[in-house]
Homo-oligomer: 461 residues x 2
């Protein structure tokens, strides 16, 4: 229902925009959540955006801008005068504005800096200095700190001073005179406590934290594991440098998800969050061509095996006919096993130590699969090849048994390879996700051909 209301509101605002009814638009926009205002502004012509901006308070503008995508922010930078942009920038969420600052080129940065106050300037330069994918690069610097010898009353005063007006604050961090973190209290603790209690009496001094240079994925995992609303980020001196919030953890998890899927399909992960539509044809091409052409080159090995059995196939053409079936089935079974193992490792359900148990389990699963798929293959061959020319000394049934047996063996070996390869890559210190579908398909092609022609040579030729 609410969705309907939201869509109606969007439609009304669009209608007003077409009629250029700016005042009415402003009245509606002012009541909408910032993220929706940002969505609507994205679709308006530049002159309307310019006319609408003065309607909002600086604070609202900062909040709306924090919800815009990078492209619109860059347009805004070109569109409005530096002074206004500086004001908006100052009120933006500290992590988004640091990202924006990094997107600007050196000249643009220098144009913007004079319009920022000292605190914002320092904060932006500080946050932009952390390497990508670290806690430092995704933390925000909006937090409230108190001392342990304060009373609750005094602490509340301090929080009122520190708390940026629109920002969510739940944990209040207790630091000593050197900003070293001592613990935290929650707003709930503060509300539950008597006004003259000392902070040190309600402090939680056992706490989980992240290092500024810690990998963002590990930070997200801590937030998830300990169900935290935000996690403190400390520097090498154990001083509080910033916080990473739970909604940032969600973004990290989504980004890692995309990266996983892409690695799975042999797509080179984009350096930054990439938008399908905004990336050009050449960009997409570059990300895909590397794997595809590597696999084509590795395919030379399969080609050599196939050529080695060229004469066998000439003599017994039915062998050639079922070569693709062996390759496809092996690729599918191996990819499935790899998916299961990679995902179970990512969710920490299995570790390298259990490698033997995992492979043994996969072998048993594969055995069952090989029975079913072997029988299907046998039926298929009898159905398809009843007219195929076969040298007199063999019966079709005999050949069908040989080919199905090869296929069954291929299912078992592909499944075990598919499960084992991610474990091996992990053991060698790599990311198991690279050992996924395209790589496995190519590798089990090779083993499949060896099994297939090996079996054929033994039984038939």
């Amino acid at each position: 229902m609410e969705k309907v209301i939201k869509d109606q509101r969007h439609a009304i605002v669009k209608g007003l925009a077409e009629a250029n009814e700016l005042e009415a638009m402003a009245a509606i926009l002012k009541k909408m959540p910032a993220v929706e205002v940002a969505e609507i502004l994205r679709e308006l012509p530049h002159e309307q955006i310019l006319q609408l901006l003065p309607v909002f308070s600086r604070e609202d503008l900062g909040y709306i801008a924090s919800n815009m995508d990078m492209e619109l922010l860059m347009e805004l930078f070109d569109l409005v005068d530096r002074r206004l942009f500086g004001r908006i920038f100052t009120n933006m969420s500290s992590d988004v504005r640091a990202d924006l600052y990094q997107e600007l080129d050196k000249d643009q940065q220098l144009e913007l800096l004079p319009f920022l106050d000292k605190k914002t300037r320092e904060d932006v330069i500080f946050l932009s200095s952390f390497p990508e994918e670290t806690a430092g690069s995704i933390m925000i610097t909006d937090f409230a700190t108190i001392r342990s010898d304060m009373t609750i009353n005094r602490a509340i005063e301090k929080i009122r001073q520190d708390a940026p007006s629109r920002k969510m604050i739940y944990y209040v961090f207790v630091v000593d005179e050197n900003m070293k973190m001592r613990g935290f209290v929650t707003l709930k603790d503060i509300i539950m406590a008597q006004p003259d209690t000392l902070v040190q009496d309600i402090i939680h001094s056992d706490f989980v934290w992240a290092d500024v240079y810690e990998d963002r994925e590990s930070v997200a995992q801590k937030i998830e594991k300990y169900d935290m609303v935000s996690i403190p980020v400390l520097n090498a001196h154990r001083q509080l440098a910033g916080i990473v919030r739970q909604d940032e953890a969600i973004d990290v998890i989504r980004a890692e998800h995309t990266e996983d899927l892409e690695k799975f399909m042999g797509i080179v992960p984009a350096a930054e969050d990439m938008n399908y539509v905004e990336t050009g044809v050449l960009g997409h091409f570059k990300r895909r061509v590397v794997w595809l052409s590597s696999l084509a080159v590795i395919g030379v090995i399969s080609g050599m095996i196939i050529h080695a059995y060229e004469e066998a196939m000439s003599a017994l053409i039915i062998l050639a006919l079922y070569m693709p079936m062996i390759a496809d089935t092996g690729g599918n079974a191996g990819s499935q096993a790899a998916t299961m193992v990679i995902r179970a490792m990512a969710l920490r359900q299995i570790t390298l130590k259990n490698w033997f148990r995992i492979l043994f389990k996969e072998a048993r699963i594969a055995f069952l699969l090989s029975l079913v798929l072997g029988i299907i293959a046998f039926g298929k061959i009898l159905f398809l090849s009843w007219e195929t020319e076969i040298p007199l000394q063999y019966s079709l049934t005999f050949i069908a048994v040989a080919i199905s047996a090869a296929l069954s063996l291929q299912v078992i070996s592909s499944t075990v390879i598919g499960a084992g390869l991610p474990l091996l890559v992990k053991r060698l210190g790599g990311d198991p996700a690279v050992a996924a579908s395209p790589a496995i398909t190519t590798i089990v092609d090779i083993t499949g051909l060896l099994i297939y022609f090996g079996m054929a040579t033994m039984l038939v030729l």
Copy 2:
């Protein structure tokens, strides 16, 4: 570093457990976060667990139990007497205990109910009644409500009453006498306000909410989009029924991620969160065999095409040799395109409306890929087949050109099919993720063979 401390602590506790030093263990465990205590208990023998339980307060026990996995909880149910279990259960997080209640069989439920107070009993039965994957099934009922005509001082008193001691509370919900939701205030608003202000003066009356029967994925998306710490869940009368917290949204996103990956590889998604280790061989087998054998059956179509060109291959054996290359390359290119499109749809970067633009873009990407892969194929054929027997009227170069051209065409058609199929499935109301790797591989095998032999018939035979 903290990781080291944590691992050390775990190691120490383990050592103490082996020496059966229960008192020392208890002293350490009492200082650890509940999630870690749950991890450690999982590995202890039952008699030690029984001896350790009395060390913790009921409240702590509830908190620790909320962090246990279902298996350990079921063991605990069998292990301790009903009265103690009832106490632990009462103090558990309302969503986890509702899940646990559903895991129990009817007899076990009846054994437990007498040991619960009326409020807990009603709550559990209420929460267990919602269908899986709805907001109702993942919400918790621990929240604080106030009225809009209260002063801040009175509101704080009410929150102190309502707030379950260990639970995180950030939003306080403002309801009328019929529990209809009017808006919310945050703990921060309360701390910032003067004690005699009225709640109605600081209320946020524009709010985002979820319906009890809303799909959990949509709930998670709202939490993510609006950066909420938790979202109110309302029933058909707009009454506050529960809240879904951000950490639940993370769990939902992870679960959906696993489901996506599995669908990608043609693995039947598990009804519930499945653990790789705990699922038996037969369970794994069942989830994989459906797709693998369906694909094997559909493979009959490829088989029929291949058989139709049996004579052509007998005459020109080189055609048989490169059949697998065509199939593999097409499968890889198609799967990549499908991955990109499915992910871009999931992230709402593209919609069905743009289908033509997407396919056109993919066609251009594919054109570039086809050039590179065609050239590699040409080189491969010259390198591998210089000894292959070819009827006198053709040169190897001519045949290599024909096969590479077929491969290039196959790359283009597979990419467009790979991108188009998820769009089509979505258009027909299905989940685009099912149109992924295995399905695409099988389909582009068919088109690939048609292109390959079509080209061969035209140019060579």
